[in-house]
Symmetry: C2
Subunit: 343 residues, 2 copies
DNA sequence: TTACCTTGTGCAATCGATTGCACAAGGTAG
DNA sequence: CTACCTTGTGCAATCGATTGCACAAGGTAA
């Protein structure tokens, strides 16, 4: 059953030439005559020859492998990015090794070390929430390998990046709510000071400012942006009798929590309170009413990351520090669209 | 910046021994003296030595890589399975190469060939919907590599499998609806004759039979189980004035379509029509009302697949043909739970 | 005819880890 | 003292593809 794979030596001895000749014939070296080349190709096909990439990798130092590190694999956002990277990589005959950090720095470090040992040709990664220093990432760069960060990035590393314009996304979302006539817009953000959430908060604040709407700090809630956080914040708004006519949350889960509590309290959406989330999680189109949200184009992010990666590989002059910023899109659904627009 | 990696030769020359001795010391060969071993380990640490897995792979024929082939990466079900496999594999110091087939046989074949060239130690895969023969999978087995199929499997290949008990899941779902007092239960199934859907249909039919409920073929609809199919089937039920008091669909998407149409027609859920889906897609808990569905435990499926895989690797006697059947769980949510149970 | 170039192929080292066999030093039994 | 065993290392081949250099055969120009 275990039919041995043919090697270039098998082809060589079949034809009475040496392995060098076969190797050159297969790689298109011009010093090989047409006759020999034809014979080699024919024999290769006959013997069902497939190159041993391991041997090739050992010699050339190139494994055709990309190490991909994400916080959580089974989140729509991340798996879509994997898909995007995959699409580009496979076309160029690269394979993608996937691993997850569970947001933990120690897992990241272990995975990156494993990637180095597996001699990947480079790494595409998103930084875990609990990561506090970047030495383990720096090691990748020190090894001379391309590193591309996406979504959760850092300016501490001089390397390629793909992010969305979080500020712009939040700004668009908030302006949209303002245009729907909302004036008391609550915002749910993250407790931890992570870049993307800070930017979303800034976008929210600037949008209010630009429209001369007073900022009420009591309407800003910091939590973990999970469903339960959204529920808690919303309950607090209601219990404290803080007037509000919209919620813009930095995550779809948090805004979903708001929707649940509002419905329980028979507060109508969007008429009394309009809702906009962030992420475009698949569930947002299935809620009642469907949730307005911000699309981050994760597949495109993945493709962009892969493109920077391959640019880095090809360029002789070190690692690309290219930064691609993807424009987010506001998806307006019923949760924020009032029947009569009064803008 | 590109600090060369230390090799066993570097350690050897540092200590005035040969690479063989270093190799043996590192692998725990008993012929090496304690002194030498200690010195080697110390020098290895000092030089920051990490073994080159490519070289090792070339010599040993083992790459510590698992090729994983799924129809679509960014579907919760599949990404959760990847996560399960990943968890088990990483602990055993294996890495997972992920690739998607987009349900197409030609992509499957190309990916499997790429896996073989990358010299993966085996393959874990789910068969694409459009795949009609299995020669490309057979090649994996012919190469003597372990192959484990999950969810979408076939009896044409003698190899390990992990599936859920689709029949049982459908049976449970249908019985649950019967217990809620439903008697006219519609079923949405797949047009294509795929095993898992046939079994779900059988479970539905047997549950009805076992409860002496007449089977009405007009209540069974075959489509593609997408949202739009669910909408179409439901509209047809209503337009043709076929009485029905429940829908059990073989996919959450299809049942979601039913929910939308029912709500548009002001038909109350679950009182007039109860709903149960299949898959436990993340969105099902966020709909209004939340959807009852069948949990397939995808992470556990992934872990089980990995376990069979490693069993196969370890056993000297050929590929494991173990088959693990996972018991699905009925998740009862508001879409099917009537206020007063009349069972 | 000589010096030199072109074309096509072979030789052998290389990538780094692994391993069967050889062998030296020292110990033990008879 | 001899035969043999044990312990610890070294030597060299191996995995398969790649590549710098050598070199033979034939051609060309002077």
């Amino acid at each position: 059953m275990n039919q041995k794979k043919a090697t270039i030596h098998d082809i060589a001895s079949e034809l009475g030439v040496t392995a060098s000749t076969v190797s050159r014939a297969l790689s298109g070296n011009p010093r090989i005559s047409q006759n020999t080349r034809r014979a080699v190709l024919k024999t290769a096909k006959a013997l069902n020859y497939e190159p041993n990439q391991i041997a090739s990798a050992l010699r050339s130092g190139k494994t055709q492998l990309i190490g991909m590190l994400v916080p959580i694999i089974n989140r729509s956002f991340f798996s879509s990015i994997i898909r995007g990277v995959e699409d580009v990589a496979n076309k160029l005959d690269y394979r993608v090794i996937v691993s997850q950090s569970d947001e933990k720095q120690e897992n990241e470090a272990a995975t990156l070390k494993a990637f180095l040992n597996a001699r990947v040709d480079g790494v595409i990664a998103s930084i875990g929430k609990q990561t506090r220093d970047f030495d383990h990432y720096q090691e990748i760069l020190d090894s001379g390998l391309p590193l591309v960060l996406f979504d959760r990035t850092t300016s501490d590393l001089q390397t390629g990046q793909v992010v969305i314009d979080d500020y712009e996304g939040a700004y668009k979302a908030t302006v949209h709510l303002i245009e729907q006539g909302c004036r008391r817009i609550a915002h749910f953000t993250a407790r931890r000071k992570i870049d993307i959430y800070k930017k979303r908060c800034l976008g929210y604040l600037d949008a209010l400012r630009d429209h001369n709407i007073p900022i009420d700090k009591k309407l800003i809630f910091a939590g973990d942006l999970q469903l339960s956080d959204g529920r808690r914040h919303t309950a607090e708004l209601i219990n404290k009798q803080l007037p509000f006519d919209a919620v813009f949350a930095a995550s779809d889960y948090a805004v979903m929590g708001a929707m649940q509590v509002l419905k329980e309290k028979k507060i109508s959406i969007p008429d009394q309170v309009a809702l906009v989330g962030f992420l475009n999680e698949p569930f947002t189109s299935f809620t009642d009413p469907p949730l307005s949200t911000i699309n981050q184009f994760p597949m495109e992010m993945g493709k962009a990351a892969a493109r920077i990666f391959f640019d880095s590989l090809e360029s002789e002059r070190g690692i690309s520090e290219q930064k691609i910023v993807i424009e987010p899109e506001l998806i307006v659904r019923a949760s924020s669209e009032k029947r009569k627009t009064n803008s």
